[in-house]
Amino acid sequence: MYPEDLKYLNTHQWIKVEGAIGKVGITWYGQEQLGEILLVELPKVGEEITHKKTFATVESSKTAFEVPSPVSGKVIEINTQLEEDPSLVNKDPYGNGWMTKVEISHPQEIDSLLNAEEYKKLVEE
């Protein structure tokens, strides 16, 4: 539920940093809050996204949830599987439910994110 190799935003998003690239998604707890996801709207490749600002929207029944980004940078890849099967975010939030890959522009932002221990504490309090 709280993979150790990820960093977390307190609004329930995760990022896996691999060099200069970050893979971003919603945490298990985050998707549980949303209920069954029916639609995922992702940014376009090449778009600039900003730390803590909305980069994607997920819709469940009549509710649109704005998803903030853990880091700033340029979107280099998006998970097109989510167009066909948005429920991947619910079923496999850390695996096939990943949302975007970002070329990180401000690596210092990663230090401000929570590690697995801190995120677990936040969720369980």
Binding site: T11, T57, K62, F65, E66
Partner: protein, 280 residues
């Protein structure tokens, strides 16, 4: 009355803002500002109640074919089409329909964000019950139905997985013919009804609003606080300004005893005689 309430009271406190008849686009800008203030804990939860001048609003993933008449005709009838960032497809708002925008920290009231819409439906069903109308849910279709006809619509957005905005609309006695120009909520041949239609008599908007406030308090466990010039002042202190403030002010706040006194002393007044700067 201080703007920043202490945390315990703040969590359960909800200010009611009755805006009367208010333009959709302006109300949306107000919602965004209030949502940001709520996110940064500068204000308590807010419950906005109002009616809109006739407008069709379209959600993020609407389909164009769900507006059945030409934009030309809509222009001639003076009906705007406003895109929005809420969930759902197209819907109509107009006079006679009460629109409710709770700006609330959802996790203070619901275990999961996804329960929020359920609770809004519960508020609507309780209000209808008071009028002896049986409100029903339909699986997979948010909103409330009365005898297979839709009487209330819901469309919500949540920012940062925390604060919800947009909300629901309940038909009291709107002009139902506007709904025939669209596939409401993206559903073809959807029949729409209202309280007045279901009961065969006129219903006072004021009564419906009171019930919404009371049931919201009960179901969300909130301590409601009706606003007056004080909240307007607090909101002004945080640099919120709305256009045509005088019209809004008088339509929004009904009880103005000091205005009556002013009239008696100095004859008719065309501007408020208040110690506070009118805001909206």
């Amino acid at each position: 009355m201080s703007v920043v309430l202490d945390s315990e009271k703040k969590d359960r406190c909800c200010c009611v803002l009755d805006m009367g008849l208010f333009d959709y686009a302006e109300a949306y800008k107000l919602q965004i500002k209030l949502t940001r203030l709520r996110l940064s804990h500068q204000i308590s939860d807010i419950l906005i109640l109002l009616e809109h001048p006739s407008v069709f609003t379209i959600g993020r993933h609407h389909r164009e074919e769900n507006i059945l008449v030409s934009h030309q005709l809509l222009r001639r009838k003076g009906v705007k089409v406003c895109p929005t960032d809420r969930g759902g497809d197209v819907t109509y708002h107009g006079p006679g329909q009460v629109v409710c925008y709770p700006i609330i920290e959802v996790r203070n009231h619901c275990r999961r964000l996804t329960d929020y819409v359920n609770k809004l439906e519960e508020v609507i069903i309780s209000v209808l019950k008071d009028f002896e109308i049986k409100g029903e849910r339909k699986v997979g279709q948010p909103g409330v139905w009365a005898e297979e006809e839709k009487i209330a619509s819901i469309g919500v957005a949540v920012k940062d997985f925390r604060v919800a905005y947009h909300g629901f609309s309940l038909n009291v006695n709107p002009d139902i013919s506007y709904f025939e120009m669209i596939n409401p909520c993206g559903i073809k041949n959807l029949r729409i009804t209202s309280l007045a239609r279901a009961l065969g008599r006129n219903i006072k908007m004021r009564d419906v609003k009171e019930k919404i406030i009371n049931y919201f308090a009960e179901i969300f466990g909130a301590k409601m606080r009706k606003t007056g010039p004080n909240l307007a002042c607090e909101v002004n202190h945080l640099s919120l300004r709305l256009p045509n403030y005088r019209d809004r002010y008088f339509k929004g706040f009904r009880a103005l005893p000091f205005l009556t006194i002013a009239k008696k002393r100095w004859g008719p007044v065309d501007r408020p005689v208040l110690p506070l700067k009118p805001i909206f």
